[in-house]
Amino acid sequence: MDDSDEALMARIARGDEAAFRALASRHLPVMLGLARRILGNAADAEDVAQEAMLRVWTHAPRWQPLALFRTWLTRVTVNLCLDRKRRAPWVALEVVGDIADPALGAGEKAERDERERLVAAAIGALPERQRAAIVLTYGDGMSNAQVAEILDASVSAVETLLVRGKRNLRRALERVIDEDK
């Protein structure tokens, strides 16, 4: 049996709950991670991921395979994240298990971790759309065209979001460097 996303969506459109659960278990972990990185809050991310999957169920009969299912679902999730008005404070992700770098001493590693914490905090302070563009581009390795499709914007608008986002991050870090001197 064809168990591609599109085939499962066709079955969901006919009210097949088993197909929906199969699709949800396939995509929910990824959407949860994406929402977690955009919202910076685990509880909100869980709600958003669940809501996104429920929209898959309710909108399946109307869904047209004009784009990849994954792109459409990412768009739904990102929009839900951006629409989230009542947001809990952004909490920086833990620095994920660093690859051991023998060239770095303990002091250098502590200094680098501290700087990365600053970058994480600066990402949290970015406007939502800039943060979403940065997460999709750097975290998921998407092209500007893909990000534009998900954010419902032009490619040049995405480029502007990325440039402004990185400029904001650079300014925040420069401020810290200046204060340290």
Partner: protein, 117 residues
């Protein structure tokens, strides 16, 4: 770190920090469990309505037609035989008011219970 090293550091830090975190199995399990409950109604597109109407079965259901015909025949017989006529010939109403005191009828509710006469 000085300002010249900043762009390079920022690029590598962004790649590291925005990577997908390892899947939180507990959160995924919790969300999937919530989704396993009763699901909401699906939104059907309106353009499918003509299709539904075209698929409608207009074949006659003979038991229903027979029941309808029986009901019609029964009503006809009752009407012809005048079985319902004695309802019209009932005696005078027990509390008929004459034309003179019709204005004196005041329907006041009981003061305690609020019941109407």
């Amino acid at each position: 770190m000085d300002k010249e090293q900043l762009p390079e550091f920022l690029e590598s830090a962004l790649k590291r920090l925005t990577q997908a975190p390892p899947a939180d199995a507990v959160a995924v399990e919790r969300a999937l469990k919530r989704l396993s409950g009763p699901l909401p109604r699906q939104k059907r597109p309106l353009w499918r309505l003509p299709g539904v109407l075209l698929d409608w079965q207009f074949a006659l259901a003979w038991p229903r037609v027979a029941a309808l015909a029986c009901c019609a025949a029964l009503g006809f017989v009752i009407g012809i035989a005048g079985v319902d006529r004695h309802f019209d010939r009932g005696g005078p109403p027990s509390a008929a008011a004459s034309g003179t005191d019709i204005g004196s009828i005041v329907f006041e509710p009981e003061p305690l219970t609020g019941a109407r006469p």
